[in-house]
C-alpha cells in the first residue's frame, strides 16, 4: 500500500482556542457547600460511611466501595454533613450525593499518611484507597487498568499528554510544572508492573511541556526503571484518543471491543500518573482537580486547582463570573465533553475543563440531508463510514450496525464536526451502539 495504515494520521483541525496555555494553576477554596457523588466512576459506586450531622475532615473516607471496580470517595473539605440523598448526576445516572458544609478550617484527617508499599499488590491497593480514577476524562478505575487479566502481558506504558481537545490546557500545565512528578509516577508504575518501555505522547503544539519532560528525564537519568521517551506527535484531533495514540506511538492496533491490554499496552493520563507519585509519597487521596475554565461567556479564563465536589455555579462566581447569560456548560472539551443540564452539579474527579458558552455558542444547528460528500469518512480516525452508521442507527438495522463495526467508533466527534449538512452523526451512532448492545444482550440470553 501507499501508506502504513497504523501510523497514518487522520483527523480534523478544530480551532484550538487554548488561550489559557501557560497559565499557572490558581488554588480556589472557600466553597460553602460541596457535594460529592458516591459513584464518580465506572462500577457500582460506594455506600455512604457518613450520615447527616457527622463531622468530616479533609481527606476522610466518606464512601466505602461496593465492588472490585469501585474506588472509595473522600471529603475535600472539613465540616459537617448536611445531607445524604439520591440525586441525578450530570451524566444522567442516579447516585447518593453527600453534601458537606465547610467550616473553612480545612482540618486534615489524622489517618492520612504515606502508604506502606512493598509489592504490586500493596501498590495497587494504595492507588485504589486513594480513590484514583483515570483523570483524562473517562474515569476508568486506575487500579483495574493496572491489573490486567491473567495471560495479558504489558510491555509498554503509554502516557497520554496529547491533550488534543480545544480549550483545555490543564494537562499542558501539569507537564510544564509537574514533570518531575510525572517521571516519578512512571517510575513507580514501571517498577511495580515490571514494564520496560514508556512512551509519552505529546502534541507538537506544546513545546514547553516536551522540554520540561525531557529535562526531568535527563535529571533523573540514573534512577529510571524503564526506558522513557517523549514522542512529539502531530497536532491533530483526536490524537489523544486512547486507541489512536497507541496506534501512532506503537504501531499496534487495539481490536474492536478490545482493551489496550490486548496489545500489551496500558495508557495513563499525565494527571493520573503524576497523582500516583503524590499518593505514594503523601497518602493524600484524590480530593482536588486541575481544571481549565474557559468559554466565551466568561469574564476571565484560566487554570484552577479546585476541590472535587465544588458546585459549578460557585466555581463560576469564584473565578470571575460570567459576562453574558450562559447558554451551555460543557464539562470536558468541546469535542467530547458533556453538556450538563444544571450548574449546581459538582466538579467530578475526571472533570478536566469547564467551558461556558454564551447563547450564540449554545445554538444547535439544524440538520439537513446528507449530500454524500464523504468528509465524515475522510475525517474518521478509525476509518469507519459515519454516514452509513448514522443511517443504520436511524433505521435500527442491527445487522448493518454490526457489519459496519459500530462498536469500533470512539465517539471522537470528528465526523459531526466536519459535516456540511450538520447531521447529528455521533449522537445517532451512540444510539446505534446502545441498540447493538441491547440486541447482543438479548441474543446472549
Amino acid at each position: 500500500m501507499f501508506f502504513k495504515k497504523t501510523s497514518r494520521a487522520i483527523g480534523v483541525h478544530p480551532p484550538q482556542n487554548k488561550g489559557t496555555q501557560g497559565m499557572a494553576f490558581v488554588e480556589v477554596n472557600g466553597f460553602k457547600t460541596i457535594t460529592i457523588p458516591l459513584n464518580l466512576q465506572v462500577g457500582p459506586g460506594c455506600s455512604a460511611l457518613v450520615k447527616k450531622g457527622d463531622p468530616v475532615k479533609v481527606g476522610q473516607k466518606i464512601g466505602e466501595p461496593l465492588g472490585h471496580w469501585s474506588v472509595p470517595a473522600h471529603s475535600s473539605v472539613s465540616g459537617t454533613v448536611v445531607s445524604v440523598k439520591k440525586e441525578i448526576l450530570s451524566n444522567g445516572s442516579v447516585a447518593d450525593l453527600v453534601a458537606i458544609e465547610s467550616d473553612g478550617q480545612q482540618t486534615l484527617d489524622e489517618s492520612i499518611k504515606p502508604p506502606a508499599v512493598t509489592d504490586k499488590a500493596s501498590f495497587l491497593s494504595a492507588i485504589r484507597d486513594s480513590g484514583l480514577v483515570g483523570l483524562g476524562g473517562a474515569a476508568f478505575p486506575t487500579h483495574v487498568k493496572l491489573n490486567p487479566p491473567d495471560g495479558k502481558t504489558i510491555d509498554t506504558l503509554v502516557i497520554n499528554g496529547a491533550e488534543c481537545e480545544p480549550y483545555i490546557t490543564a494537562d499542558d500545565q501539569i507537564m510544564r510544572t509537574r514533570a518531575d512528578r510525572i517521571i516519578k509516577g512512571i517510575n513507580l508504575v514501571c517498577h511495580y508492573l515490571d514494564i520496560s518501555r514508556c512512551l509519552i505522547g505529546v502534541e507538537d503544539n506544546k513545546p514547553e511541556a516536551i522540554k520540561a519532560l525531557n529535562d526531568a528525564i535527563n535529571s533523573h537519568a540514573g534512577e529510571l526503571k524503564a526506558g522513557i521517551s517523549v514522542v512529539s506527535v502531530k497536532t491533530l484531533y483526536p490524537t489523544g484518543a486512547e486507541k489512536v495514540l497507541i496506534r501512532y506511538l506503537t504501531d499496534r492496533i487495539v481490536p474492536e471491543n478490545g482493551l489496550p491490554a490486548d496489545v500489551g499496552v496500558v495508557v495513563l493520563n499525565v494527571g493520573t500518573v503524576s497523582f500516583i507519585a503524590d499518593v505514594i509519597d503523601t497518602g493524600m487521596p484524590l480530593i482536588r482537580k486541575f481544571v481549565t475554565v474557559d468559554g466565551s461567556a466568561m469574564n476571565r479564563h484560566g487554570n484552577y486547582d479546585l476541590p472535587i465536589g465544588a458546585p459549578i455555579e460557585d466555581v463560576i462566581e469564584a473565578v470571575g463570573g460570567a459576562k453574558e447569560p450562559i447558554g451551555k456548560v460543557i464539562m470536558g472539551g468541546p469535542m467530547m465533553g458533556v453538556a450538563i443540564d444544571d450548574i449546581r452539579h459538582p466538579i467530578l474527579k475526571h472533570t478536566n475543563s469547564l467551558i461556558m458558552a454564551g447563547e450564540k455558542g449554545a445554538k444547535i444547528p439544524k440538520e439537513w440531508n446528507c449530500i454524500h460528500c464523504g468528509r465524515c469518512s475522510r475525517s474518521c480516525p478509525m476509518m469507519l463510514m459515519p454516514s452509513e452508521l448514522d443511517m443504520a442507527a436511524r433505521q435500527e438495522n442491527i445487522d448493518e450496525l454490526r457489519e459496519f463495526h459500530v462498536m469500533n467508533c470512539i465517539e471522537c466527534g470528528s465526523c459531526t464536526y466536519v459535516c456540511p449538512a450538520k447531521r447529528y452523526l455521533v449522537q445517532n451512532i451512540r444510539i446505534g451502539k446502545n441498540l447493538y448492545r441491547q440486541a447482543a444482550r438479548k441474543a446472549a440470553k
Partner: protein
C-alpha cells in the same frame, strides 16, 4: 437558568452545504463570462432563466410536498447553471424551463430532494432535452468576431467533435472557446480555472476529473484519434469537473472515485468512438451514476482494528 443540552461535539466546522454549493457557483463564473464573449448576452439570459426556474421549481415542489424549504442551500442554483451550460445559446427559452422542470422536479425532488437523487439532475435534464428536441439542441452558434469571421452576426457551426480534417479547431481555439458548442463547454481554459478554484477550496479532489479525462484520452488514442483534441473539445471537461464530481451521485472513497472516473472515461470513449452521436459524456456519467450505489458497496472503507462477526 436555562441550559442547552446536546450530544457532543459542541463545535462545528464553518463548512456548510450552502458554502460548498456557493463555491461551485463561483467556479462556474469564468465559463459564464467566456460564454458572454462567445455567444453574446443571450447566453447570460438563458443561464439566468434556467437558474431562476430551477430555484422556483425547487421552492414550489417543496411547498407542495410540505417539506422544509431548501432553496437557501444553493444546490438548485448549481443545477440550473450546469444545466444551462449544457444548452446551446440559441435554444428557445421554454425548452430550457422544461429542462429545469425535469432536472429539479422529476430527478431531484421526486426522489427526496438534495442528497437523495439517483442521477445528476442537470445531466438527465440535458439528456431529456436532447432526445426531445434533437435539432434545436444540436444547432450551435457563435458570434462572428471571436470565431474569426468579420461582423458580429451569429454564425451557426457544429460542435468540433462532429467536424473533421482541416475544418477542425486548433488547440488554442478549443482552449479559448472559438468554436461551436453549448454555453458552458466551449472554453476549456475557463473550466480549468474553475477546477483549480474548487480544488484549492477543498470542494472536490482531482481523482474523478483526472481519471475521467485521462482514460477518455487514452481510449481515443487507442482508437487512433487525437487524445488532446478529444479532451478539450465537447463536454468532457464540463462533465468531468462539474458533473461527475457531484457528491450525491459519485463514490466517497478514493478507490471508488478512481473506478468511477475510469468507468466514465471508457464509456465516453465508447460512445464517441463507435456511436452515431458525436457526444457521449452525459450518457457515460448517467450510467456511472446508476452504478454508484454498487461502487460504494464494493469500495467500503475497512475500519482499523475491526473484528468480523462470527455467528
Amino acid at each position: 437558568m436555562y441550559l442547552n443540552v446536546s450530544s457532543s461535539p459542541h463545535i462545528r466546522d464553518s463548512v456548510t452545504t450552502r458554502r460548498l454549493m456557493g463555491d461551485v457557483v463561483i467556479a462556474l463564473i469564468p465559463a459564464l463570462v467566456a460564454s458572454y464573449f462567445i455567444f453574446g448576452v443571450r447566453a447570460i439570459i438563458l443561464t439566468l432563466i434556467t437558474v431562476a426556474s430551477c430555484v422556483f421549481f425547487e421552492w414550489i415542489s417543496r411547498l407542495i410536498m410540505k417539506r422544509d424549504n431548501t432553496i437557501h442551500d444553493m444546490s438548485a442554483v448549481v443545477t440550473g447553471t450546469i444545466l444551462a451550460f449544457c444548452l446551446p445559446a440559441g435554444l428557445p427559452v421554454w425548452m430550457a424551463i422544461f429542462g429545469a422542470f425535469i432536472a429539479i422536479v422529476v430527478v431531484k425532488e421526486m426522489f427526496g430532494g438534495i442528497g437523495s437523487n439517483i442521477a445528476n439532475p442537470a445531466i438527465v435534464g440535458r439528456i431529456v432535452l436532447g432526445m426531445s428536441f434533437g435539432s434545436e439542441m444540436n444547432s450551435y452558434s457563435v458570434i462572428g468576431t471571436l470565431a474569426g469571421e468579420t461582423g458580429t452576426d451569429l454564425v451557426a457551426t457544429a460542435t468540433p467533435l462532429a467536424l473533421s480534417g482541416d475544418q477542425a479547431a486548433s488547440y488554442l481555439d478549443l482552449l479559448l472557446g472559438r468554436h461551436g458548442g453549448t454555453i458552458g463547454e466551449v472554453s476549456a481554459a475557463a473550466l480549468l480555472l474553475g477546477c483549480a478554484y474548487l480544488v484549492l477550496r477543498g470542494v472536490i479532489d482531482l481523482w474523478i476529473p483526472a481519471t475521467f479525462v485521462v482514460s477518455t484520452g487514452l481510449f481515443m488514442w487507442v482508437l487512433g484519434h487525437d487524445p488532446i483534441y478529444h479532451v478539450l473539445a465537447g463536454g468532457l471537461l464540463l462533465g468531468a469537473i462539474y458533473m461527475a464530481t457531484d457528491y450525491v451521485t459519485s463514490p466517497t472513497t478514493t478507490k471508488g472515485k478512481i473506478i468511477f472516473g475510469i468507468g466514465c472515461g471508457l464509456l465516453t470513449g465508447l460512445f464517441r468512438g463507435f456511436a452515431a452521436s458525436p457526444e457521449g459524456v452525459s450518457f457515460a456519467i448517467l450510467l456511472m451514476n446508476i452504478m454508484n450505489p454498487h461502487l460504494e458497496r464494493w469500495t467500503r472503507l475497512k475500519t482499523i482494528g475491526g473484528v468480523d462477526y462470527v455467528a
